[in-house]
């Protein structure tokens, strides 16, 4: 039958190559070797602090990520989830990370927390520098596991997407909150922990904190659970809160409540927030700095005004245009980005957006573009622009 011609590059179909059993075994043997090396490094005990002390490039940042590579060594090949990501999180600012599912935004945040699901997931290259409250700077990628325990949940806290699965269903809210305090604050007693937990629940706008303290997670609604998660994240006065899609599972009216709360709390503790979401509306409203990710790389980054008023990368532009909203006139069709994200195994060695881009040129299929600087804060990785940030002329585009 003629219509059954196998078209390997057909849009939308998983184009992964089928492996023979032998090949698969070879890959997993090689992976095991690599993974073992990384795991040994992480499990070391009594490591001299000098090994992971470092200097910040800019002392006003809480976290600096530089050229981060996080790979997953799966049996079908290496998935480069985060492939050379660099950005800073300044003190007291909200950094928004946007991107489609699978673009590596969650893996970036898990790398900061040293929570990349192991042993297949490993930070392979790059550095994450974290400035602690006592002024010391730590290199998180080199930190041994037992040291990281003291930072995770205390100085860097995380709010997850699904509050039901991130709370333990068999323990009461109070027990789970007290645990954080008792673990991280040496002089705390069960009584002082309880007092602190209830105080925190009150701060996140829960009307009846004593009752919530004594209830199980299933007894609360989605919005309440997310409030509890936020209270738990805040209880040790963190310097950085990572919020991974904190409102995706919630309704719009509840989402508005939670976003309002996050903003208030940021002011109160003067901390920084890394806000991960796929909703451009949430980003526009909350973030100071925006990072747009696509297939494991940053394709554009800038202040919220720069990104929303003068987006440069065709993907960012497409993303803005494809949202239905007030900017669409009656009867007008929605702009849609054709095709979809390439397969994470066997990524191309040219621009990842090439196949979906309206403005693709020949040069786009010949190598990955460098970041071009438009202003001290605004960067994009695209061949459409000259080194100085001006758009290339039509003839030049033609010539390429």
């Amino acid at each position: 039958m003629s219509f059954l011609n196998n078209d390997k590059n057909a849009e939308g179909v998983d184009s992964s190559v089928y492996l023979t059993l032998r090949e698969e075994r070879r890959i997993s043997r090689e992976n095991a070797k690599i993974i073992k090396k990384y795991e040994r490094e992480k499990n070391r005990k009594k490591v001299d602090e000098k090994e992971y002390l470092t200097e910040m490039r800019d002392p006003s940042n809480v976290v600096e990520i530089e050229n981060l590579h996080t790979y997953f060594y799966t049996d079908v090949g290496v998935v480069k989830s985060v492939n050379g990501v660099s950005f800073d999180i300044p003190q007291g600012k909200i950094v928004g990370v946007v991107g489609e599912s699978g673009c590596g935004k969650s893996v970036t945040s898990l790398s900061i927390m040293q929570l990349v699901p192991g042993p297949t997931g490993q930070i392979v290259e790059g550095s994450i520098r974290y400035k602690a409250s006592d002024g010391k700077c730590y290199e998180i990628t080199k930190m041994p596991r037992d040291r990281m325990l003291k930072i995770r949940g205390k100085d860097i806290a995380m709010i997850f997407q699904e509050p039901m699965t991130s709370l333990n269903p068999v323990f009461k809210i109070g027990y789970q909150m007290d645990e954080v305090v008792l673990l991280h604050e040496e002089e705390s007693t069960p009584e002082s922990a309880k007092k602190k937990s209830i105080e925190m629940l009150k701060q996140v706008g829960i009307a009846d904190p004593e009752k919530v303290y004594a209830s199980y997670p299933h007894e609360l609604s989605g919005g309440m659970r997310q409030r509890v998660m936020i209270a738990m994240a805040l209880i040790c006065n963190p310097r950085l809160i990572i919020a991974d899609e904190p409102t995706t599972a919630l309704d719009v009216t509840i989402q508005a409540q939670i976003l309002e709360l996050l903003r208030e709390i940021k002011e109160k503790i003067n901390g920084s927030i890394m806000l991960i979401t796929h909703d451009l509306g949430v980003i526009a409203e909350m973030a100071d700095i925006v990072v747009v990710m696509y297939a494991g790389r940053i394709i554009e980054q800038g202040t919220v005004k720069e990104i929303f008023h003068s987006p440069k990368h065709p993907y960012t532009i497409g993303l803005m245009k494809s949202r239905p909203g007030r900017h669409i006139k009656e009867g007008e069709k929605l702009y849609s980005i054709k095709g979809q994200v390439p397969n994470p195994i066997n990524m191309p060695d040219y621009c990842y957006f090439y196949n979906r881009c309206d403005k693709a040129m020949r040069v786009c299929s010949q190598g990955y573009p460098d970041l071009i600087k438009f202003s001290p804060t605004h960067y994009a990785a695209c061949y459409l622009y000259n080194e100085d940030g001006s758009e290339k002329s039509a003839e030049e585009k033609e010539r390429r």
């Binding site: 059954l4 976003l259 929303f308 979809q340």
Partner: protein, 330 residues
């Protein structure tokens, strides 16, 4: 519903639809409490238009969709589809009518059988209902696939080989293959990425223009509903609280809940500072809803009368009805 409206204009008229689920039965099978998932909902949809149904999770919008198709039995009320009362027809007759009303589900991962190739998924019901003669079957399926943006070589592939967006296209093709008049879309976009959502919205609009389908579009995403719908119904805790023309509702929301809902949508422009109405508290339990107006526990304008009497839908302006005591008093 006014009687002078010509029923021919409407493909679907829902009158006082109720769906109660019994809970906590006594030993002898008599129920003592009900979840009033849908409580006295009435609306109608004109041929070839799209009606959006919005509301928070648990407000009964999905139940409305399923009860219309009699995937759940109706507790009380009428569903008149194309002149016939669906709540009365016999199962045999209902089966004959099934091809005319189809449904697209929310999750494209769980609504496609993993053991059937795409061609068979789309064609199963076509064969069952004998939509086309046997000899035209294959070319018909391929035509439907082409309409929905699926390439012919996908015919023998299995759902796991496709991404979310392509799977949703398969679900749409499955619904469209039966030449339906009416399609219920139950949150067809919420499992998809933003860039893929736009592709699916455009596909659904194209198909509607070409074949004149009527959609009931159930969603919690107000910006999508605003784009795709002609009329809109807003639900809260099993009741319709505001219903009417899209433009009228979006430019002039009347009910305090609709106002809060519209103001809560984040706008993708950093310069726009929304004058946001933030509702306090959560949606109450549908087992034990508040007396009178169900929204009064969260309403910033609640009055004494709201606790006593439930407001009914009243025409405020042409094609715009609201159930709220704020407007019934003047």
């Amino acid at each position: 519903m006014k009687d002078n409206i010509k029923n021919d204009d409407y493909i679907l008229i829902v009158k006082n639809l109720k769906k109660y689920y019994p809970i906590s039965k006594f030993a002898l099978g008599k129920s003592k409490a009900y979840v009033k998932a849908v409580d006295d909902v009435s609306f109608s949809i004109k041929r070839g238009t799209t009606m959006g149904l919005v509301g928070e999770s648990g407000c009964g919008k999905t139940t409305v969709g399923r009860t219309i198709l009699r995937l759940h039995e109706v507790t009380d009320g009428q569903v008149i589809f194309d002149g016939k009362d669906l709540s009365q027809v016999s199962p045999r007759e209902l089966r004959k009518m099934r091809p005319q009303m189809q449904m697209i589900f929310q999750d494209p991962y769980s609504s496609l059988s993993p053991r059937m190739p795409v061609g068979e998924i789309i064609g199963e019901a076509v064969k069952q209902h004998k939509i086309v003669p046997k000899e035209q079957y294959r070319s018909y399926i391929l035509k439907v696939m082409r309409d929905c943006g699926l390439q012919p070589q996908y015919y023998y592939r299995y759902p796991h080989e496709f991404s979310g967006g392509q799977r949703q296209r398969i679900s749409i093709a499955r619904a469209v293959a039966l030449n339906p008049k009416f399609i219920i879309c139950d949150e067809p976009l919420s499992a998809l990425d933003v860039s893929i959502q736009a592709q699916i919205i455009n596909l659904m609009k194209d198909l509607q223009e070409r074949y004149g389908y009527t959609y009931l579009f159930i969603s919690h995403d107000l910006s999508v509903v605003e784009y795709i719908s002609d009329s809109i119904g807003v639900m809260y805790l099993g009741s319709m609280i505001e219903i009417g023309d899209k433009k009228r509702i979006f430019s002039n929301p009347m009910h305090p809940y609709t106002k809060a809902l519209l103001s809560a949508v984040p706008v993708s422009d950093p310069d726009v500072k929304m004058n946001r109405i933030i509702l306090k508290g959560d949606i109450p339990s549908p087992v034990n809803p508040p007396s009178g107006c169900k929204f009064r526990t969260r309403c910033p304008y609640a009055m004494p009368i709201c606790a006593e009497k439930a407001p009914v839908l009243k025409e405020y302006e042409e094609d715009h009805r609201v159930a709220c005591h704020l407007y019934s008093q003047e």
